[in-house]
């Protein structure tokens, strides 16, 4: 392009300038929203997730000890420098009331770790200098556990700055003293069961939402505008109802001497009241109720786009009503089924309050444990790790959803 004239060059430059100005204006217009999102969304979530692998508790209160353990390769006997450093750190942290932080963290790594540390903190405060300058003997005297090789190794593993302890624990795995990853012994396993329970409850809720939502959405698309409007209101009603009112209503309906049990007994179908609430049944019923719109609305949207003539055409071409549904109507609704099922499933695996209110002890899902570790035991590391597991599942499903939503559209 050698024969570009000066005038053309100037024009190109002017156009580029104008476009650049427009881009900056656009950027500044969305900048506040961007900043808002970063501070209310990305930063808090990022900070929470960071806790699933960051391990700074021990390092923050026992700096000298951590300096020693980080220099040690973890094999054989603990270095002699560990004991004076540990003694100094415990005394210092006891004086500044921060020893509990380390005690809590070591409790995850060593059986009875909290008691061990708190006892040491009380005793060591009275010892200025050890006899013969041997701090190891002092610790051995406090508790034999202190001088066992696996204790020093556990302190080393808890020294941070990063750890795989929480993420492994969230999957019922742990590291042996030798560093191999093994499954937690049967009696201590919990999160795999919870994860499975979370998925199975969500799966059941999705299935029931589909079984109820499919015919409902079909009816909605086939009804007159007015009837369809009323049906939409009914399906959205649980959304607009207070959680407590909704739950109380289910309790009234489903409890031992509730309306449903009374009715079933009066018509002689059962002799004893069925247990319908504060167990799995109650959880599935209440969750299906509130998640139904997520199934019905995408289904109805897809069904509205299906030309009824296609079913008529199938019938005129010789298909029985069943064949016409199976081969012509249903396949055309599949994008809606997939979208609805994924929306319901993704929402369900994060459910917390509904199972907590209408479920029993064995019906609590993953989110309940996250709340438990955040509120009750202040084990943010494990809460964050469970959050990572949940987020990973949701992300995978969302990607699948996005694929289906964009890929399977008929022109």
């Amino acid at each position: 392009m050698t024969d570009v004239t000066a005038a053309e060059r100037d024009l190109v430059r002017a156009h580029a300038r104008a476009e650049r100005g427009r881009r900056w204006t656009a950027f500044f217009l969305v900048a506040p929203l961007f900043v808002f999102l970063i501070f209310t969304f990305l930063v808090p979530i990022g900070d929470m997730l960071r806790r699933s692998f960051m391990d700074g508790d021990v390092a923050s209160v026992w700096p000298q000890t951590v300096a020693v353990t980080r220099a040690w390769d973890g094999s054989g006997e603990a270095p002699a420098a560990l004991w004076p450093a540990l003694a100094a750190d415990i005394k210092a942290s006891a004086a500044s009331d921060t020893v509990a932080v380390a005690a809590r963290r070591l409790n995850y790594a060593i059986d009875g770790g909290r008691t061990l540390v708190m006892k040491a903190a009380r005793r060591l405060a009275k010892i200025e200098t050890p006899p013969n300058g041997d701090w190891r003997a002092v610790f051995a005297d406090l508790d034999e556990t202190w001088v066992a090789p696996k204790t020093a190794a556990a302190i080393r593993r808890a020294s941070g700055p990063v750890t795989d302890f929480y993420l492994l624990a969230a999957l019922d795995l742990r590291k042996t003293d030798a560093g191999a990853i093994v499954t937690t012994p049967e009696k201590d396993r919990i999160y795999r069961t919870v994860l499975w329970r979370t998925f199975s409850v969500s799966g059941m809720v999705t299935l029931f939402a589909l079984l109820i939502g499919y015919p409902y959405a079909y009816l909605m698309t086939r009804s007159s505008k007015r009837v369809a409007g009323v049906m939409t209101v009914f399906v959205l009603l649980p959304f607009w109802t207070s959680l407590l009112v909704r739950t109380a209503a289910w309790i009234v309906l489903l409890q031992e001497h509730g309306i449903l049990n009374d009715l079933l007994m009066r018509i002689g179908l059962i002799d004893h009241p069925l247990r319908l609430i504060f167990n799995r049944v109650g959880v599935v019923v209440a969750m299906t109720h509130v998640l139904l719109p997520f199934m019905v609305l995408p289904l109805a949207a897809v069904m509205k786009g299906i030309r009824p003539e296609t079913v008529r055409a199938a019938r005129s071409l010789g298909a029985t009503p069943m064949t016409a549904f199976r081969r012509i109507y249903f396949p055309q609704t599949l994008p809606g089924v997939a979208a609805g099922a994924l929306l319901v499933f993704i929402s369900a695996i994060g459910y917390y309050i509904t199972p907590a209110l209408v479920g029993g002890a064995d019906d609590q899902m993953l989110s309940w444990f996250i709340a438990f570790f955040v509120n009750d035991t202040i084990n943010w590391g494990l809460a964050a790790a469970l959050g990572v597991v949940l987020l990973a599942c949701t992300t995978v499903l969302s990607v699948v959803y996005a694929k289906i939503a964009t890929g399977r559209r008929f022109a």
């Binding site: 030309r307 008529r312 055409a313 199938a314 005129s316 010789g318 009503p321 022109a411």
Partner: protein, 376 residues
């Protein structure tokens, strides 16, 4: 491709056996308004029958009752010897082409065409062969593996046709199948459907509101209005000898002069218009008094010198002359009306807008009808 017969009406169907009979069929949705009223109609084997009428005239309802998607409120429809009221749509074996094609969007073209064969339990090899033949028949062998959305409107229409014909039904129904196509494609498809009809010896029932389409394609046309058949005849008879005013105005273009009957002499009535012009017209659907609507086709209106000596002449002023290539349309303002005359474009002296002019028509071309049975 077979040469089409020049005029549909000339095919001899008088001796063909009857395939479909509507016997006193009525349809009402609310018990008060009848969409179709005690309808009697027979369709001969091999016939191309068009149901023509404005929307809401009951023509589509008739087709849907024949296909089985609507149930007659009373009366019975027979297909051959079967009474159809006990037969669900899938047992009728009637091919149907829908207005918007109704191809299955989630299936390929080949799967679409194979569908009627598969539900009949035909083996794979025969299905494959028949699908290939059907695609060849509509001259689209290359689209077998595409999805309907990848085809143009005209192509989709041809696939819908292939799908309705592939299981060799005796009777094929079409519900305004060309409504969504542009003019040129529509004319081309009209020709193709017609030649398929003749080469396959099918019986076709075709619904349209396009009177040109009806005229060019049909053996017989049934004109629907208000749930009744107003006239059922071959295209030529329907166009040249419409039995009532509605048929005359709905089929083809027409000029209408309203007036009062002031005399009757045998089959000729004298109609005096509001402006006082006396027109002599053939009495078709009128008595010897009351009001009448005189209907004249534009091609029968003579303008200028050609009008001298005709039975009916009226003075007017040329409002516009529209060139159509093969003919001119002369719009004449007369009697407060816009009268249209069609003239050959090769006429030496074409009238010009603003010319004061005389136009006229012969009594044979002016047909007097009852105005009450003329308005749509």
């Amino acid at each position: 491709m077979k040469k089409p017969v020049a005029v549909g009406g000339e095919r001899d169907l008088a001796h063909a056996p009857t395939l479909v009979t509507f016997q006193g069929v009525s349809k009402t949705y609310d018990g008060k308004v009848h969409v179709v009223k005690s309808l009697d109609l027979t369709i001969a084997k091999g016939e191309f029958l068009t149901l023509l009428g404005p929307s809401g005239s009951g023509k589509t309802t008739c087709l849907m009752m024949l296909a089985g998607f609507e149930v007659p409120t009373s009366g019975e429809i027979y297909l051959g010897d079967w009474a159809l009221s006990k037969k669900p749509p899938h047992e009728r074996g009637i091919g149907m082409v829908f207005q918007n094609y109704a191809l299955f969007p989630h299936m390929t073209i080949a799967e679409n065409i194979a569908f009627p064969l598969e539900v009949r339990g035909m083996n794979r090899a025969s299905v494959k062969e028949k699908v290939t033949r059907a695609l060849d028949m509509v001259r689209l062998p290359q689209v077998a593996d595409r999805k309907p959305s990848q085809l143009s409107g005209g192509q989709q229409q041809r696939i819908a046709l292939a799908r309705a014909l592939v299981f060799e039904p005796e009777l094929v129904l079409m519900d305004e199948p060309l409504g969504a196509l542009d003019k040129q494609l529509r004319e081309h498809m009209q020709y193709e459907i017609r030649s398929l009809h003749m080469s396959l010896g099918l019986t076709m029932v075709y619904v349209t509101h396009d009177q040109t389409e009806a005229l060019t394609m049909s053996d017989r046309i049934a004109v629907f209005a208000g749930g009744h058949i107003r006239q059922c005849a071959d295209p030529r008879k329907l166009y040249e000898e419409p039995s009532d005013g509605l048929v005359a105005t709905f089929v083809g273009e027409s000029n209408r002069f309203d007036g009062a009957i002031t005399g009757r002499d045998g089959d000729v009535v004298t109609v005096t218009t509001a402006a006082g012009t006396r027109l002599r017209a053939a009495a078709i659907d009128v008595g010897s008094e009351g009001s009448a609507a005189v209907i004249v086709r534009p091609e029968n209106v003579r303008v200028g010198a050609a009008a001298s000596g005709l039975d009916d002449t009226i003075a007017g002023r040329v409002a516009d002359v529209v060139y159509h290539g093969d003919h001119l349309q002369v719009h004449i303002a007369a009697e407060g009306l816009d009268v249209v005359a069609k003239q050959s474009a090769r006429d030496v002296v074409a009238p010009r807008p603003g010319d004061e002019i005389v136009f006229g028509f012969s009594t044979a071309h002016a047909r007097a009808y009852d105005p009450a049975r003329t308005d749509h």
